[in-house]
């Protein structure tokens, strides 16, 4: 019987400070026992508990896509006890990964539909995984038009430039990357995410929107989609709450009867409308 609390040992193979404020750092992790990689079957939208012995665990969305191989990518915001320690860890260090945990984006249900992906700030992580997954040759044909709308305050706060600059060159995805205010050297879009959504004006017909971002972005993006005629069932969001066990027992992450760690983190707007907003 598998012990769900014991993390797989992994080694940090690469790190990268992602943002100019140095708050976000990416970690590429390799399983120490290659067999563990087989046990770690995941789908974009899921998360894992990153474990640092002596410090504890922290739930982080998986930013890599299984289509990229066995190496896992996590981008971690430096806020608490565990994440501070993580930011001080280096290539070659040993840590643990426990998961994959939670549900995922409804990739199956999204087949045959147009997909609008809206990301604000560092909430882009699991959406990076999703876009990567969808753009993979094995999967791309299953989906219609893809719009990727991604914003941050400044160019230096945008994550994964290598990826989205590649996506911008492709013709099977419309990539709208924006910053809040114009700065020298930025030739891309300027404006808040909700404004860009208004301009892109994605049509609700036969479409699904995945929206992740800070509460203020969600608050102003929602009315844009409402005005365009989107229904709550078509809008998919991912929640965050404090977690410990990650498997629906320890009790702190629940939103009404739903455990964010187990029943989520992905919910439709229609589901959330019926739940208390305790997130």
């Amino acid at each position: 019987m598998k012990n769900p609390y014991i993390p797989y040992p992994v080694r940090i193979s690469k790190t990268l400070v992602e943002t100019e404020d140095k708050q976000l750092k990416s970690f590429w992790l390799d399983f120490i026992n290659p067999d563990d990689a087989k046990g770690f079957e995941y789908t974009p939208g899921q998360f894992a508990e990153l474990s640092v012995c002596g410090f504890g665990e922290v739930p982080i969305g998986i930013a890599s896509s299984p289509t990229e191989g066995d190496t896992l990518l996590f981008t971690v915001n430096k806020v608490g006890h565990v994440t501070r320690k993580l930011h001080n860890m280096a290539e070659g260090d040993i840590m643990g990964v426990r998961g994959p945990l939670g549900n995922s984006y409804p990739l199956k249900e999204m087949e045959g539909k147009n997909v609008v992906i809206v990301a604000g700030g560092f909430a882009v992580t699991t959406l990076r995984a999703t876009v990567t997954w969808i753009l993979h040759p094995d999967n791309r044909d299953k989906y219609g038009k893809i719009d990727f709308i991604y914003g941050a305050r400044t160019p230096g706060l945008l994550l994964y430039e290598d990826q989205w600059s590649e996506w911008q060159k492709r013709d099977d995805i419309d990539c709208h990357v924006t910053i809040d205010r114009a700065v020298d050297g930025w030739n891309g879009l300027v404006g808040f995410v909700p404004t860009i959504c208004e301009q892109v004006a994605p049509k609700p017909d036969n479409a699904v929107a995945l929206i992740c971002g800070p509460p203020v972005m969600i608050r102003f993006t929602q009315p844009v989609f409402d005005k365009l005629g989107w229904q709550p069932e078509q809008i998919v969001m991912s929640l965050e709450n404090r977690m410990k066990c990650g498997i629906g027992i320890c009790g702190r992450c629940n939103v009404g009867p739903e455990y964010v760690c187990k029943d989520g983190p992905v919910f439709t707007k229609a589901q959330l409308d019926k739940l208390p907003a305790e997130y």
């Binding site: 609390y5 120490i32 009404g256 208390p276």
Partner: protein
Amino acid sequence: MTDKILSKDQVAAFIDSLKKEYQVFAPTEENGKIIWAEANSADGLLWEFSNTTMSPKDFFFPQSECMARFKNDPKAEGGMIMHPEPELERSRVLMNIRPCDAKAFQLLDRIFIQDEVTNDVYWRDKRDKAILVGLACNNPCPTCFCTSVGCGPHHEAGLDILLVDLGDSLLVKPISDKGKALIDDLPDAKKVDKDKAAQLKKTSEASITSGVTMDNVNKRTVLELFDLPYWDRVSESCLNCGTCTFCCPTCHCFDIQDEVKGTDGRRVRNWDTCMSWLFTVHGTGHNPRPTKKERVRQRFMHKFKYIPEKREGEIGCVGCGRCVQLCPVNIDVREVVNQMNA
């Protein structure tokens, strides 16, 4: 399965036979408190008591439990890798456990063990290695309300054996196969014994007069109950201490902490409480349950709405009344639920 009879002067021998294979525990009195302790003989066994101050959940879900250990040395061979703690060595019998507490474990089984991923091996190991010998309540407390939450003073759910105190002897009801195997050698109960037990059950059930009504709670949506103005009032006197959650047989929330001492490191889980501000606060400082109102609401909603929603109507409370007795400001769950239902 046939009901058996055990005379009280044979209880010592019965415990001796159990001790060959099991560690035996039972409620006893110590320093003016009713507590769980190892029962090496029939001495100290109680036949008349309401219940232990704390629920016996600690046997399966200890307040502090080491889950895994690691060598706290990144340079050492095999350092910084978690290894699970060994399993429980000896199986245990919990003797004279009250039916409400046994029912609570049956509910918790559904929470700790849900599927392949949500499979709490620590809980499971200790549950698999336990026999629950219940003692029916013939004299329930005024704070007992088990009969209104799907349980009862002679309830059998979750037990392996139920004992009914007939005075000089005990009616021994086998409930599970595990339980039956332990009492096969005892003499069969006579009809008069069984009749007496049935009568005691009836009297006992009838003596429980307080309870909760759930019909409207069941009908109302999560949001309707969540938005009741009543929560402001009920939370007003709450101290936000953890008494109700820690004494509760069904509260199961926990925290996980790492600890190191030199090169020894361990990962420990500790009971946690939804009454605590820290319980839900995010690393960013944002707290989805920022005041005691949200935290008090969570506890009652969890037991009486969220768990029933998720578990086919099963209520997350067994009516043991511990929280009613121990709450320092006497927040009475029966009143709260009846207000939710009003």
